[in-house]
Amino acid sequence: MVLALLQPAAVSASPAAAHPLAGTAASLVWLLPLLPLLGFVINGLLSVVPAARGAHVAVEGGAEGHDDKHGGAHGATLAPNARLVSLIGPTVIGAAFAVACAIFFAMRAAPAGAVATPFVQTYGSWMPAGELRLDWAFQVDQLSILMALVITGVGTLIHVFSVGYMYRDPSFARYFAYLNLFVAFMLVLVLGASYPVLFVGWEGVGLASYLLIGFWFTERQNAAAGKKAFVVNRIGDFGFLVAMFLMFANFGALDFAGVNAGAALLPTGSAVATAICLFVFLGCAGKSAQIPLYVWLPDAMAGPTPVSALIHAATMVTAGVYLVARSGVLFALSPVASLVVALVGALTALFAATIGLKQWDIKKVLAYSTVSQLGYMFMAAGVGAYSAAVFHLVTHAFFKALLFLGAGSVIYALHEAYHATHRDEQDAQDMRNMGGLRRFMPVTWALMWIATLAISGVPPFAGFFSKDQILGAVFARAHESAFTATTLAGVGGATWLYLIYGVGLVTALLTAVYMTRLMLYTFHGANRTGEGERSHLREAPWVMTAPVAVLGVATVVAGWLNLPEVVHHVLPLGTVGALDRWLAPATTGVLAAARVRPLAPEAHLSAGTEQALIGAAVAVAALGIAAAVVLLRRTPLVPKDDDTAAESGVERTLRHAYYVDEALERGVARPLATFSRVVLWRGVDTGLVNGLLVRGAALGARGLATLGAAAQTGRVGSYAWVVAVGALFVIGLVALR
């Protein structure tokens, strides 16, 4: 059995031997998911074992800690083994990060251009069925290792932050077990060498996300948020599954190399490619919270804040962008599907940004901001600028993780303060309870301003470069690309792209506005936390601020990975287009290998146009920040309790997120529940199955039995008659034969 499993590995190892990465650290790629998995097993056992022995401790702590929805539970009891868990949890991720770095440097050490094809490591056969050959295989290429670096790097920082944030939670070990499990599955997702292996990670991170959103499951709304995320994601997963079925039906393969080779035989604009791409994108819309499946992400904020940072901002939600970039060959064959991706991305970006303008919950603002920024990434991925999409993915991972962790520090501080004054019922996430925190939390304040400037697109911070590259790519493709010959809904592709560019610009403006609003309400102005609480407000411990500070550095420098030439003349902060060149084998290289024409040639804008675009982006960011400062100065906030401020209809609509949840509740959830209750339950189950089939069978049997019983009269005479007539009948039969 074991031999049979190992055999294909041995066979496929021989062609891989020729790969330049063979024998280097890249052979250790299996360690990447295994280390976090090890952490999951150990922490999982630690979370279960003491519960059996010292159950009363856990229950005591649970009663105290579970009413707390914002983390940093304050029960005097520590979770058992908290020290050991806080050592193991971050260490395994840090070790995985070290492995990822080793692989990265091994790739760097390889001669230039040598690593043109992915380095595939096969560990065993998974589904050998008919013509389907599916292996447990990981692939190391420029894209997957970059993703692995981000996941483990940001993951390590967030794990360290979690040690401080969650230390007093009674389920500390369970938390780290889930978080480690998430990282393990996320690495499977990005390292898998075929769509099904990717799907294993895809579903795994969905599971981890569900477990962590509902981490404080004793509160009904948290459990419901987890369920919502799971159910909405199932809709997307259905699309992904159908896409895989179509791939197998048309290409007979499911590994990336096989699918790319099969897709290369299709003509550009083929219906098959379009169908596959649209179904893939349905999956992406679920995982990456795009219209119409974005509704789960704002609710996912019910989880602990570091979870929001890691899963619902930096890594898992970007899986859809990764998947589109990974399927570049397919999308290159379908300009229509690509345009749909870009359009949905642009629409989502604008839509979510407007909602972010009027949220009071600090995490909700960041959640809608994440949805909006993911829309940006899909704009880039849709127009085939995968490098720009991944660039924004990386920078966003840094600055959004920073923002979430900073918000976590703020929530932690407020929570500690409210706990100290025994006013735990106060909402530590509502910005109306904040204000003026700059005095109490200067480090967090400074770091969050860096991230705010970054996400708003102010140079020289990271977000400026990635956002500018996306907008530039969209603008360039409106001039010269496969889209100019495409029409969607009767409108030319170029028009759509100009529209997308405009939406992107407006979104950038709104981003600057809502982020500045968040900063002003949280850190500036008068403090609204409460008289008694003020003396208890203080900066979070170093174990929480240090990771945020590291992210702050990354937020500043990450953009320099991929400097545009025009900026390089002014600010020589790094090499021009380093990330583009690094990713080239995985983005443009696979297209060239498959002999598929890319959606657009390399973006070539004249220096003048590029300067104008950059000028517009920076002007918009500055305008947004200035507008927020000017507009919000005039509206002094009152504490949440005495909020009687009259809202206009538009404001209310935005605060309620366009009433989408309410509409879904009325339009989908309730009719579905009614249909299920009336038709499926009462009609089909109670009526048909239970009534007609089950009881009907019983009644039928009883009726037949009554008939049979009636024949047994107990009178010998009637039996004699039956025997006589029967005998006569048999004689008659024999005689007449």
Partner: protein, 98 residues
């Protein structure tokens, strides 16, 4: 000769059968059953003679033995029934009704 014998046997059987089907008294029922058995016996003997073997006559001996045993058991049951119900009218004894 054989025809006449068979006619007598058939008549005997018919009388017995009609008696079994129509009478309600258990004793008369038994007598009718005996009539039917003897009609069969007569047929056996006649056929035995016709074919020139003795197998049929041997069967008759068996039938008479079994009939004797059956009468003994049956009459015992009838006596028991009479003791229990005070009657041997079969229409009034229908405890095993379904």
């Amino acid at each position: 000769m054989i025809v006449e014998t068979l006619v007598v046997a058939a008549a005997l059987f018919a009388v017995g059968l009609v008696g079994v089907l129509t009478r309600r008294n258990a004793l008369i029922l038994f007598m009718c059953v005996e009539l039917m058995l003897n009609a069969v016996n007569l047929t056996f003997v006649a056929m035995s003679r016709l074919h020139g073997g003795t197998l049929g006559q041997a069967f008759v001996v068996f039938v008479m033995t079994v009939a004797a045993a059956e009468s003994a058991v049956g009459l015992a049951i009838v006596i028991a029934v009479f003791r229990h119900f005070g009657t041997v009218d079969l229409d009034r004894i229908s405890l095993l009704r379904g």
